[in-house]
Symmetry: C2
Subunit: 130 residues, 2 copies
């Protein structure tokens, strides 16, 4: 841990993204302080710091939906973590697999690829030529 | 946007995880305020708020490495965002594809599955029985 120089914020916290190591699905975002980060590395289970309850908690300690840590990354600024886990059961307390189960409607444009005409043209051209 | 009730923190920010919509790779974590979130939705490009520079910035405005927003999710507590994008070029200012390019050594245990013996046993048993 000595070589790890994570930049904790003024509250002593760092955001940790939790991702399913098998599917790549982003499961949740929670915060770690230095103690919970150390416990995560030692136990290979995710430990976080609850800002509302002001206490450490181990994910799944009560629900049984533990996260087994397989890989742990930190970002270029050393102020964010990415934890790749094997998730037991749903990650979200609502019972949803991921906490990110609600999508913002971005309107029609997001579903229609503006380059679709170009792509169809290229595809036709490609078939003609080959 | 009226129906979106994102919980911005005391600094008016919300963390936004950016994920490659095609590969599932987590590219970066940055912060949005309400204005940058609105601009992200309107323009379908990612806009963030720089805490150090205290200004809005559009990802790729100078580097050209834009992020085209395809899907936008918010979490159960409405205090974190997940943005699925098509990334042009590398996402990280270091030139790395993802900002999470450095891994913490979790020791031997992380690479050796403690249930490997059990799995081999089950595999042998399965082959015998079928």
């Amino acid at each position: 841990m000595e070589s790890l120089n994570i930049q904790f914020d003024e509250q002593g916290l760092v955001p940790a993204i939790v991702q399913d190591v098998r599917t790549g699905e982003v499961l949740m975002l929670a915060y770690m302080n230095e103690t919970s980060l150390n416990k995560t590395i030692e136990t290979k289970r995710t430990w976080f710091y609850s800002r509302s309850r002001e206490e450490l908690w181990q994910k799944g300690a009560t629900s049984g939906n533990e996260q087994h840590v397989k890989q742990l990354y930190y970002d270029c600024d050393q102020d964010a973590l990415l934890v790749k886990v094997e998730q037991t059961g749903p990650a979200c307390h609502t019972g949803e697999k991921s906490c990110f189960y609600r999508e913002v409607d971005l309107g029609e444009e997001s579903t229609v690829d503006p380059q679709i005409v170009e792509r169809v043209f290229e595809s036709i051209q490609d078939r003609r030529d080959h």
